[in-house]
Each structure stands twice: as structure tokens, then as C-alpha cells.
């Protein structure tokens, strides 16, 4: 366990020394032009304040842990310990970062103090080298601190259901939907995820009207949730004889599947239906129909599957789809109440938002949320590294946003206590 008192002291001393030792620009990161607008670096005052707040909390927790008054209270002990394990890695990294800053300052001092003799020149070069190393270390520590700050989403690793629906643009939209479907199928293979078709409705020309799949694997929801929304294509369709460029759309929905603990449905609330065979059923009938429909009586929600030749498999597919529907309506409600509490419109973007354009004429894919363009559309549609890169920049963006929001909330609460 680190020494919390030590950190707090250092933190304070650092604050005191800002004006004294280091020039008025931000902490030793002169090479980077970080301004407060570019918010998320250690130079951000509200981030600093927040981190200090956490360090104090950590200190307080340590004191309470050893306090004999609390020793008997098992519940409290447990709560304390949990929060402590959350904070400790963060506090340790902060301590390291602060140490690095001290080191940096010492080096800076050495450099600026050194007079111009030849021997000192050598020293100076060494010091400069050392300074670069220190800066690098500090930067990576900073990154680590930021990612530790990002709240972990419980649903990150959930299995998901992805739905693909053709939008405006007729046959061309359906062909584009098929292209997108294949891109994500390949991406799932690239990530070693399991990709199982639940529904798949095609058209004569090889287009896709609607499809849903179940995807499971590491970070499936974390990565794929950014793919939800409207995707737009601009190209000359295969079906177009006159060579005109068409604009068509398709929509992707990404729904986390509930884990077992998240949702339990009472079998009594479910009504399972199969197609009613005429007459007596059983041996009296030969049918290839194995479709299953499940109704959740309390919510009136329905899911069905006719994907498989076995009734049992159709039943389990329908069950997964039903659970996901119910779970997502619960999540939506929860999010809506949270949002109204915060009185802001931040949160997951609407499903109807246009998120990306695939422009074949200009051979680029543009993501409208990060304003980033990638060239080579065909390569992008292979669903490999290029898609992964774009997704990870979206993930980073989201993490930053989350931390920023957290800081805002922290500042609000600080103002209130004042």
C-alpha cells in the first residue's frame, strides 16, 4: 500500500511550487501544445482538483480502515475496502507521476543553472536526454491515469445482438446492407468473435432486407456500440445503367444481451407458441415448420425465430432475442431517468443519427462524429485493421468525453459544497 499522507503533501507542495520553479507554462510538457481547451491532460486544473480530491478520499479511507471504531462493523469494512481497491492503483500512479514531475524540475534546474563550460556541456546533454525520458514516462503515466479514471461500463463485455436494416434507396440500399453485413462478419472473424445469424432476409439480387446476428467475444459491446446508427453510401449502384451516383442508407442497431444475472424471466410469464398443426398433431402430422414465437405476457413483447430446422434451436434463438428486447427497454428507461436527472442531452446518440459515409467516387469513408476520413473504401469494407482503427479512435473519444463529463459533475458538486 502506498503512503497516502506522502502523496497529499507532495501534491500540495507541487501546487505551491508551480509559480516558483517551473515557468508559467504547463507542467514540463512544453513539447506538447496542450491548452486547457484540449482539456484532458494533467495540466487541466479541474482534473488536478479532481485527482487531489480522490487522493484525499484515499487518505481518509486509510485512516478509517485502521480506526478501531470501524473494525467491528463488517459491512462498513467491506465497503471501505472495495473503494480502496478502486482508488489505490490510481493513487499509486499519481504518486509516480508526481515523483516524475519532481525529477523533471530538478533536471530543468540543472539545465538552466549550468554555465557554458565544455564539461558542463556534456552534463547538459546528458540532462537533456534524461529529460526526454522523463517526459515520455510522464506522458504514459498520464495516459494510464486517464484510462483508470474512465468508469468501466458493466456492459462492455456483454454479448450483443446486431441488427441490420436497409434504409432509403431501394435495391441499392439492400445491396449496401449486404456489404455492411459482410464487413461486420469479417470484423467478427478478425476479432475472433462468435458471429451467429439469427435472422437473414435476402432479396433476389443478393441484397439484404433485414438481418440480426448474435455476437459474443471480448469487448464486443464496447467496440460495436459505436457502430450503431445510420450508414450512408454514395456510389454508382450495380443496378444503375446510366452511371448516376446514388445515395442510400442502412441502419445498424447494437443491443447488449443481458447476462444471466441481469435479467431473469419467470417461465410462468412466457407463452411459447408454435404453428398450430391441423388435427391431432404429433405422429399424425408431417411438417417442416419449426418456427417458435415467444410472448412475454407482462410486457407484451414478442420474439420469434424460424431460422433453424429444429424447434429447440428456434426456441433458444427467440429467447435470446426476447431477453435482449426486454433488457434494452429497461436500460433505455434507466438512461432516460438518469438523463432527466442530469437535465442534459448527453448520452448515447440516437439510433437515427447519420454516423458515417462511404463515398466510393472519392474513395473515402468519413465518420461524422470524429470528423475523420479514411481512404480506400474497399479496404475498409474488408472489416480488418482499418475498421478497427476507426473504432478505437471512437472509443478514445468516448473515454475522453466520459472523463470530461465526470469532471463537470465534480466541479458542480464542489461549487455546491462551497
Amino acid at each position: 500500500m502506498s503512503n497516502p499522507c506522502h502523496i497529499a503533501e507532495l501534491q500540495n507542495s507541487r501546487q505551491g511550487s508551480t509559480t516558483g520553479l517551473v515557468s508559467s507554462c504547463s507542467y514540463g510538457t512544453g513539447s506538447r501544445e496542450s491548452t486547457n481547451e484540449d482539456s484532458l491532460s494533467m495540466s487541466n486544473p479541474s482534473l488536478r482538483a479532481y485527482l487531489e480530491h480522490l487522493a484525499q478520499e484515499h487518505q481518509q479511507l486509510c485512516r478509517e480502515m485502521v480506526d478501531e471504531k470501524n473494525a467491528a462493523d463488517g459491512k462498513k469494512q467491506k465497503r471501505l475496502r472495495r473503494r480502496l481497491t478502486e482508488l489505490t492503483p490510481l493513487v499509486e500512479k499519481m504518486e509516480e507521476w508526481v515523483n516524475k514531475q519532481t525529477e523533471l524540475n530538478e533536471i530543468e534546474e540543472l539545465i538552466s543553472d549550468a554555465p557554458g563550460s565544455a564539461q558542463d556541456k556534456e552534463m547538459r546533454e546528458l540532462a537533456l536526454l534524461e529529460k526526454d525520458e522523463c517526459l515520455e514516462d510522464a506522458d504514459s503515466l498520464e495516459q494510464e491515469i486517464l484510462s483508470l479514471l474512465t468508469p468501466v461500463d458493466d456492459t462492455d463485455d456483454n454479448d450483443i445482438i446486431m441488427e441490420f436494416s436497409a434504409g432509403v434507396g431501394g435495391q441499392e440500399a439492400m445491396l449496401f446492407t449486404a456489404d455492411m453485413f459482410e464487413m461486420y462478419e469479417r470484423f467478427a472473424a478478425y476479432r475472433d468473435w462468435d458471429f451467429q445469424k439469427l435472422e437473414y432476409f435476402t432479396t433476389d439480387l443478393g441484397g439484404l432486407r433485414h438481418a440480426s446476428v448474435s455476437v459474443s467475444g471480448d469487448e464486443a459491446y464496447k467496440l460495436m456500440k459505436h457502430e450503431a446508427g445510420v450508414h450512408r453510401v454514395q456510389r454508382v449502384p450495380k443496378t444503375e445503367k446510366a452511371g448516376r451516383i446514388h445515395t442510400s442508407t442502412m441502419a445498424v442497431a447494437v443491443l447488449p444481451q443481458p447476462k444471466e444475472i441481469d435479467l431473469k424471466l419467470d417461465p410462468k410469464d412466457l407463452r411459447i407458441e408454435t404453428k398450430k398443426a391441423s388435427g391431432a398433431g404429433g405422429q399424425h402430422v408431417n411438417t417442416t415448420d419449426s418456427a417458435v414465437r415467444i410472448l412475454h405476457i407482462p410486457t407484451g413483447m414478442v420474439a420469434e425465430s424460424q431460422q433453424e430446422r429444429s424447434q429447440l434451436k428456434n426456441r433458444s434463438i427467440a429467447m435470446v432475442m426476447l431477453q435482449t428486447k426486454i433488457y434494452n427497454s429497461i436500460l433505455e428507461q434507466r438512461e432516460a431517468t438518469e438523463r432527466s436527472m442530469r437535465r442534459s442531452q448527453v448520452g448515447t446518440s440516437g439510433r437515427s443519427e447519420k454516423i458515417r459515409t462511404y463515398n466510393f467516387q472519392q474513395d473515402r469513408v468519413t465518420d461524422h462524429r470524429v470528423g475523420q476520413s479514411v481512404f480506400d473504401v474497399e479496404g475498409f469494407l474488408l472489416g480488418g485493421e482499418r475498421l478497427e482503427e476507426l473504432i478505437s479512435s471512437l472509443v478514445n473519444e468516448e473515454e475522453k468525453e466520459m472523463v470530461t463529463r465526470m469532471l463537470e459533475e465534480f466541479e458542480e458538486s464542489q461549487k455546491k459544497t462551497l
Binding site: 478478425y190 391431432a280 398433431g281 405422429q283 408431417n286 415448420d289 480488418g384
Partner: protein
């Protein structure tokens, strides 16, 4: 490494699990020997969703077939691309064109006469031409129109299943867009037309495509062995819900048909053993083949024997051997038989369907023999007609010596009493 390569490997080199062999034969007689020449196509179905991109799953092949006329053993050796595949089927079925689904195992496959129950059909003049049916979906439309015109039930899905089968798939929606968009080849269309002509004769779709799914298993089905019904999946649910996975159980199945129940139990209860009997030799053969294919043969014993009021030899001296008896016995009353769909009446074995005047012949025989088979407190699980649970109770009341009591009836998804659970209490007081 570029990501998509990973996918293509899987797609280009599938593990061949299922293949459709279509060979056109013609004969040439020459003194003592008859030579058969063949040309055909072999289509593989891989573990993944069939072919992708420019990968074609169709391999063209030349095969030479020879048969000695003096040989009484009607065995044909077919060489496919110089790889001998020995297939055994009666001489008569090779008259014109032969198409079936075969399972490849280490390149050598034994295949019994699966097609001799089919009426020989020629790709009739009623099939569409390539011009009329250039895409898989067009073929589906063409044939589903013909089916519904001629009153063939489940017209559209029948056509879909057959077209999918001809393309080496289980279902049409497994097709990915590039394949969907391409045209059919003449050979594919020939297969489709031939198989659809069979459907016109009301042959069940399951027999035409040669395999069907039961729970998590894919089972081979062939005439006249009873085609597993979806209701029976629920019987297995009931049984699985009752026993724990780690108990060493020994089940007896009476009337195993294609092996659906026994093989499901074996695949889901890894410590269980099953003894299965069926009075039909074809059913016993099919159960064993399905077990072999699924790798479940080690814990399964199959006997060809009939349970009547007397136990067959293979089940004698087995008192207190079994934890449970399971059966989906023939339960259709004799007077209902005439009114069955042509699919059932013409092609499925009546022995597997007809349960005597009240549909309870075998049910009663099972109850009569229970004390010679079951451990005390062991259960009997039956799928029956919806009228039977009540009738069984009545029969037990009037025949109190069986030592069996009815503990529960369960309904199928249409609220029909379909399943009966009975318990063997003790030695019967009298015999």
C-alpha cells in the same frame, strides 16, 4: 497480418461434412461385363456458411464405375478423381441419375440403398429451364407456384429446402449475397427439378433432402424410418429436466426409429448409457449409422427386436437394470391411419405409427413388462396421443397388477396432453 485472411482460410478450406453426389450413369455392355460410365458433380458443405466470394464449392469429376455381372454381391466401386469411394446400393437404383446426400468419412463412405424407396423419376418436362430460373430464388418461386397449384402442402418452404439442398446447404438463408446473386448451373437446376418432381409425389421434404435436425443434432432420415417430430424434442426436454447431468443412468428406449431420442440423451447426458430396441431392421441400421456419425456409438446398444406382451430375448433377464424407459410408441389408432397425409401414409413405416384399435397396443405392452426391466422407483416417459393419458389411467385402474402409477401428464405447445410420466413402485402383487 491482414485480418480478413483469417476468414478466407476457414471459408476456402472447409471440413467436408456433407456432400451431395450427383452422377449421371450410362451403361455399356461388352460380353461378360457391364461397364458403367458416369459423370457428375460433387458438392461439399463446409462447417461455415458455404462458399464465399469466388470460392466455388462445386468440384466437377469424372468417375468410372464397374460392376461384374457374375458377381452376386451388388457392389459398385465408384472412383472419383482417382479416389475410390465404395458405395453399396442395389443395381436397380442406378438406372438413370442418382443423387443423394452422402457423408464423407476419411474419403470412404458406406452408403446403403437410400433411394430404392423412391419412385424412379426423370427430370420431367415440367421442370423450368435455365432461362426461366436463373437464380436460386427464381427456382424457388417457380416450384412453389407449381406446388401450391397441385396442392402440395408447405409449398414455398418445400421449394426453399430443396433448392438449398441442391446448393449444398441446409437452408436458403445460409446463402451469402454473392451466391444468391449468381445464376444456377444446369446441373444444379437438374438436381432441383428432379428433387422437386419427387416432392410432387408427396415424398416428405425430410426424405428428399436426406437429413433433418432434432434438437442440436442433425440426423440422417430415410424412408421408411419414422421422421422425428418437433413435439418429441419436448419429451427430451422433460427427461433432461428430471435427471442431473452427473448421474450414471441407463435408459431403455423402445422404438428408437432414427435414434433421435436416444442420441439426444447421449449427447446431453455424458455419463448416460442407452439400450435401444426397434422392430424394424431399417430403423436399427439408421440409428447405428447416426450414432456412428455423431460419435455416440460407445454408450449405445441397439437391438432389432419387438416388444410384445412377451419380452424379446435381448431384454430378458434384465430386471432392475434400467433407470427409465422412454418411448415414442406408435400411437395412432387404426381408424385414423386412412386419413393421414399422403406424406405419412405413403412413405413412413406404418409399424412406427399404428398403435392398434385404441392406439395403445405398445403402450400396454410396455406397462406389462415394466416390472421385468425397471429399477424400483424408476420412471417411464411416454409421448402419446392427447387422448391417451386418461386412457392409461383407466387401464391401470382396471389392471392393478402392473405396479405402475401415473405421476404426471405434460402438454405440448398447443395445450394438448402429450407426455405421460409413470413410476414403477414395486414388484407387482400378481402376474
Amino acid at each position: 497480418m491482414a485480418g480478413p485472411m483469417k476468414t478466407s482460410h476457414k471459408l476456402f478450406f472447409p471440413n467436408f461434412k456433407r456432400a451431395i453426389l450427383c452422377i449421371d450413369f450410362w451403361t455399356r455392355s461388352c460380353s461378360k461385363s457391364t461397364f458403367l460410365n458416369g459423370q457428375g458433380y460433387l458438392r461439399f458443405e463446409g462447417g461455415l456458411s458455404c462458399c464465399h466470394g469466388n470460392a466455388s464449392a462445386t468440384k466437377s469429376m469424372d468417375c468410372s464405375v464397374s460392376k461384374q455381372t457374375d458377381s452376386k454381391n451388388e457392389t459398385l466401386d465408384i472412383k472419383i478423381r482417382n479416389q475410390p469411394i465404395s458405395r453399396h446400393f442395389p443395381w436397380t437404383s442406378v438406372r438413370r441419375t442418382f443423387s443423394t446426400s452422402v457423408t464423407l468419412q476419411k474419403d470412404v463412405e458406406k452408403c446403403s440403398a437410400s433411394s430404392n424407396n423412391f419412385v424412379e423419376t426423370t427430370p420431367g418436362p415440367n421442370g423450368p429451364t435455365l432461362f426461366e430460373c436463373n437464380s436460386p430464388q427464381a427456382a424457388v418461386r417457380w416450384w412453389s407456384a407449381v406446388f401450391s397449384e397441385r396442392g402440395v402442402p408447405e409449398a414455398e418452404v418445400s421449394a426453399e429446402f430443396i433448392v438449398a439442398h441442391a446448393l449444398g446447404l441446409k437452408q436458403l438463408h445460409e446463402l451469402t449475397s454473392p451466391v444468391l446473386a449468381r445464376s444456377l448451373t444446369q446441373v444444379e437446376l437438374d438436381i432441383i427439378n428432379r428433387l422437386c418432381t419427387k416432392r410432387m409425389q408427396r415424398i416428405p421434404v425430410q426424405y428428399i433432402v436426406g437429413d433433418w435436425d432434432f434438437r442440436d443434432l442433425t440426423l440422417e432420415v430415410r424412408p421408411p424410418v419414422f421422421i422425428p417430430r418437433p413435439e418429441t424434442e419436448m419429451l427430451v426436454d422433460l427427461i433432461l429436466g428430471h435427471y442431473s447431468e452427473d448421474s450414471k443412468l441407463h435408459f431403455l428406449e423402445i422404438g428408437c426409429g432414427s435414434g433421435a431420442i436416444s442420441l439426444s440423451l447421449l449427447s446431453e447426458l455424458l455419463l448416460a448409457r442407452v439400450t435401444a430396441v426397434d422392430c424394424s431392421e431399417q430403423a436399427v441400421q439408421l440409428t447405428m449409422e447416426n450414432a456412428d456419425r455423431l460419435g455416440l456409438q460407445d454408450r449405445l446398444t441397439v437391438h432389432c427386436a419387438a416388444v410384445t406382451s412377451q419380452l424379446p430375448k435381448c431384454l430378458q433377464g434384465k430386471s432392475s437394470s434400467f433407470d427409465a424407459i422412454i418411448s415414442n410408441p406408435p400411437y395412432i389408432p387404426t381408424q385414423d391411419m386412412e386419413g393421414l397425409q399422403p406424406e405419412i401414409k405413403l412413405y413412413e413405416d406404418a409399424i412406427a405409427l399404428c398403435g392398434g384399435p385404441d392406439g395403445m397396443d405398445l403402450i400396454k405392452d410396455i406397462l406389462r413388462n415394466t416390472h421385468l426391466l425397471l429399477k424400483p422407483e424408476g420412471f417411464i416417459w411416454l409421448e402419446t396421443d392427447s387422448r391417451h393419458p386418461e386412457a392409461i389411467q383407466t387401464w391401470l385402474d382396471t389392471n392393478p397388477g402392473m405396479g405402475v402409477e401415473l405421476v404426471g401428464t405434460y402438454q405440448d405447445y398447443h395445450d394438448r396432453p402429450r407426455f405421460t410420466q409413470l413410476r414403477y413402485k414395486n414388484q407387482p402383487s400378481q402376474l
